[in-house]
Amino acid sequence: MHLTVSVGWIGAVAAYLALDVAAATGRDAQTLRAAYLGMDLIARTVIVPLAVAALVTGLVVSLGTRWGLFRHYWVVISLLLTTFATAVLLVETRTIGHLADRAADPTLSADGLRALQSTLVHSVGGMVVLLVVLVLNMYKPRGLTRYGRRREREDVSPRR
């Protein structure tokens, strides 16, 4: 479940990125209008639900297994990056909605559409963060936190 929603999140951001590039580089008014409306739709109905699901399932999986939430550095870093990415996404969704509202205005000229801001910085940055988390989750690099080492000692020699 966690794997499915996490990889789905990356796929959805890739689709969003394609529209974002079209919105940032396109000159045709119809293409620009469609791109901004599509970006809003994908962000609200696919990316946000997958992001929240990835965060929640990640918490459940880590707390419900021997990996724990604060025992391994790769888990802690993944949690921080996923939380950060989700927070930025939730803020950015409002900006995307505003851009889509502007683009949906039939009175907005082609020049007006071309003057709309791009969200490329956030979408490219978001994709990089998600790929870093993916690599961490795939390779699970060694390294126990101080708390993880303490728990490990307790597990080996339980108190009587």
């Binding site: 000159r27 550095y73 071309r114 801001q117 791009s118 910085v121 060694r142 390294g143």
Partner: protein, 36 residues
């Protein structure tokens, strides 16, 4: 702390400082990359 964590934290700090400097310098999203 493993070496990879130290490198990771170092890169994260550099990225965060760069983002703050860009924000303070007034860099915004801009109107896209539309050619002439």
């Amino acid at each position: 702390m493993p070496r990879w964590v130290k490198v990771f934290v170092g890169v994260a700090i550099v990225a965060a400082v760069a983002a703050v400097v860009a924000l303070l310098a007034g860099v915004e999203h801009g109107p896209g990359l539309h050619g002439p």
